[in-house]
Amino acid sequence: MTTGSSSVTPQAAEGDRMQKLSASARERTALKRNGIIDRIFELGTRSSALLVLVLLGTITGSLVIAGWPALQQLGLSFFTGDRWAANVENFGALPAIYGTLVTSLIAIAIAVPVSLGIAIFLTELCPPKLRRTIGTMVELLAGVPSIIYGMWGMEVLAPFLQSHFPSVFPAGTGLTTAGLILAIMIIPFITAVTRDVMNTVPSIMRESAYGLGCTTWEVVRHVIFPSVKAGMLGGVILGLGRALGETMAVTFVIGNNLFLNATVTGQGTSIAALIANQFSEADGLQRSALLLLGLVLFLITFAVLALARFMLNRINQRAPS
């Protein structure tokens, strides 16, 4: 296929090309129509992408506007206050922020090694027959609605912890209980992502390593692990994002204490749980403070995602593949 010389106009060049392709009039209109469809398609996808930006901007904007009165009235005390007492208009976000971070960290600390174990077993050690069954079950676990985890946590896990470890969990509920529930909720996410990226490692690399006399552990540690690090981190962040914002399951088992207790096993609250409990009855300053709290959760999640992106970039730069 040749194009027209630089002296002819693009339209002429196009007509020239058509002629050379010996396209009939019908074919030409079809080509033109396809061009229009392509254009519409491009516009459609672009506006869908823009819609995300607009939504994000609107949500942030309305949270800022709604939370502004509280920020103005409470100032820095909103971030440093150690209790959330609506009756005396004392709104300190510290207990909720502390609870959100602690429960999510507990969840990650438990879920990451367990998910890694499941993924390694499924990709490296599991007999092929079992692989499918266990894999499907892990994925099913991801589909269980969070309210079910909440009810299970309240009816089964909390009483179990209370009766077996009464000195650590006098009431069964608390930050650790919430962290445990969150860990169970995010394990399927991290496992699924980790397993998928592990499966992408070419089997020739594995086999070569085994051929050199490596043990399974050495293969996993030195061959598979380095090439899937970035993908795994993505799975962990996905899980962390879910843990930070999880509402119903946490509300059931966290204990809903609005004082800052610097414990890990005691009762506390999280941002999402506090909003869920109080928003429907709130008005005035309390309502504004709760919306400001929503903005804080938004920013925390945003910061976590930004950090993840930063780490991903660094990993990619260090090991260009």
């Binding site: 007492a85 909390a158 009431a171 204490n257 609005l258 109080q278």
Partner: protein
């Protein structure tokens, strides 16, 4: 055929909208069971329906202030100043009792005795074990274990919270200063559960727990209700007779704007934590017919609803108070021409 059915349907529905009215209201969840019972009975008798949204006391106040409903309902009364500012009147429609429930293995049902000060100290996190001296002194006959106390409270804003904290703030100045009263307070110790039912189930599940619920929930869940020392110094058992006693001693006559919380009432047999649920209406109404319909419903409930209320463990308002409400409160509700909506 279809056309005929459709025409008949439209005709009847038009007729229905013409004759039957729907009264709209929103607010407290605590009286919702009895209000819906009343609404059923009232609709059977008169054809007029009630659309009551149990969205919580705070929401009820918001909606009536904004004028989107004919009446609002709240477990916590508005102060006379708030009423005046928003051109509202309020009256108590129904009463109920809040009871402390405990779960201590080895302590029999109804055996435990508590007083307000001790209850306040438990909820302040000052008394942490069941064999604490303060509790033992009140219960010389009960063998108390050294189980840890887990206070259970309402996590969300609620009228029950308001009544309970209002009582504790009255009997304990430490409680008043540290925690204060309100629908939504920060508790220093224990576990927060959602709604009466949530508190009941937590107390059921935790050995060493103490909680507070509307008396109906204690009965439904078979919980161990503690005795309370009342203002007269007697230990009383929760029940309709002691609730009635507290209600009977309430001095509605001298309550400005009917602002009265029935906690810590005088009287030998009075249960200390009793509260009324209030109805709020505008003093000057735009839609006099809707207001009249609402008042007719409440009048019907006062006259015919007592049995339904007692069945559900609520306490009906005494006749003297009902007459006073009609004479002094309902007379303030006027249409735009200044004529009273309620004509006896």
């Amino acid at each position: 055929m279809i056309k005929q059915v459709a025409a008949a349907f439209i005709a009847t529905s038009l007729a229905a909208t013409a004759s039957a009215a729907t009264i709209t209201g929103a607010g407290a969840t605590f009286p919702y069971p009895v209000y819906s019972q009343w609404a059923d009975g009232y609709q059977d008798e008169t054809g007029n329906g009630l659309n009551y949204q149990a969205i919580g006391s705070g929401g009820g106040i918001q909606q009536i202030t904004a004028g989107t409903v004919t009446f609002g309902a709240s477990d916590a009364p508005m102060t006379p100043e708030e009423l005046k500012k928003n051109n509202l009147v309020q009256w108590p429609q129904i009463m109920g009792g809040v009871v402390p429930v405990v779960h201590v293995e080895g302590v029999e049902d109804g055996a435990l005795r508590l007083d307000g000060q001790t209850l306040a100290d438990i909820y302040r996190g000052e008394i942490t074990t069941w064999n604490d001296d303060a509790i033992s002194q009140l219960n010389p006959d009960v063998d108390l274990p050294d189980t840890r106390i887990t206070p259970v409270y309402r996590a969300e804003g609620s009228g029950t919270n308001f009544l309970f904290t209002h009582y504790l703030a009255q009997v304990s100045s430490d409680f008043k200063n540290e925690i204060g009263e309100g629908k939504s307070v920060a508790w220093p110790a224990g576990v927060g559960a959602k709604a009466n039912a949530g508190v009941a189930s937590q107390v059921n599940g935790i050995n060493g727990a103490i909680g507070y619920v509307e008396s109906a929930y204690a009965e439904q869940n078979d919980l161990n209700v503690a005795q309370m020392k009342n203002q007269a110094g007697n230990f009383v058992t929760a029940g309709s007779d002691t609730f009635q006693a507290a209600a009977a001693n309430a001095d509605w006559q001298n309550a400005d704007g009917m602002y009265l919380v029935l906690t810590n009432q005088p009287g030998d047999q009075s249960w200390p934590i009793v509260g009324a649920s209030f109805i709020l209406m505008h003093t000057e109404v735009d839609d006099a017919k809707a207001a009249g319909d609402a008042l007719a419903f409440f009048d019907w409930a006062f006259e015919n609803g007592d049995d339904m209320a007692t069945e559900l463990n609520y306490i009906p308002m005494p006749d003297g108070v009902v007459n006073m409400i009609k004479k002094d409160v309902w007379s303030q509700i006027k249409d735009s021409s200044g004529k009273a909506v309620w004509q006896q």
